[in-house]
Subunit: 90 residues, 2 copies
């Protein structure tokens, strides 16, 4: 789809997206901004690489503990990681 | 114990506490500040009352989804609920 179609799609669908989708996308965005592979982030967070990929794709729902491990690995406080989820969680 | 003993105990033990303990205590504190029973908060968050009690006592680790439901029920953004956990999570 074109950029404007994508934006329209996003505007229509984001408010109804679940917690897992928004969290997973934010983790992926921050990981990529650091130039890190999934393998590297998984190792830093002491998580299984497959599970890490599932979290990014929102096919797994992380526990608060796992979310905290990912925040620590990404070097942001968990509250900030969650604040960066758009639209905000909760 | 006295207030000062309690403070000393807290200072010694809090940094090593887990995510579940800090989150559960914060949920309980905010719930009590609102004068709500566990039953009422559980109903607002659409969670089982027993499970809610387990979260407060840190005998259950909530998923990010459950944490978001509790934040919504407590009428605070999830990022703020997590920010209020002392020491901060992540």
């Amino acid at each position: 789809m074109t950029a404007s179609t994508a934006l329209a799609f996003e505007a229509r669908h984001l408010p109804h997206e679940g917690v897992a989708e928004r969290f997973g996308r934010t983790v992926r965005r921050l990981r990529q901004a650091r130039g890190w592979s999934q393998e590297l982030l998984a190792a830093r967070a002491e998580l299984n690489r497959t599970y890490m990929g599932e979290i990014e794709r929102a096919s797994a729902m992380p526990s608060l503990q796992t979310a905290a491990k990912l925040a620590q690995a990404l070097e942001v406080p968990l509250a900030e990681l969650i604040q960066r989820c758009e639209p905000q969680l909760g």
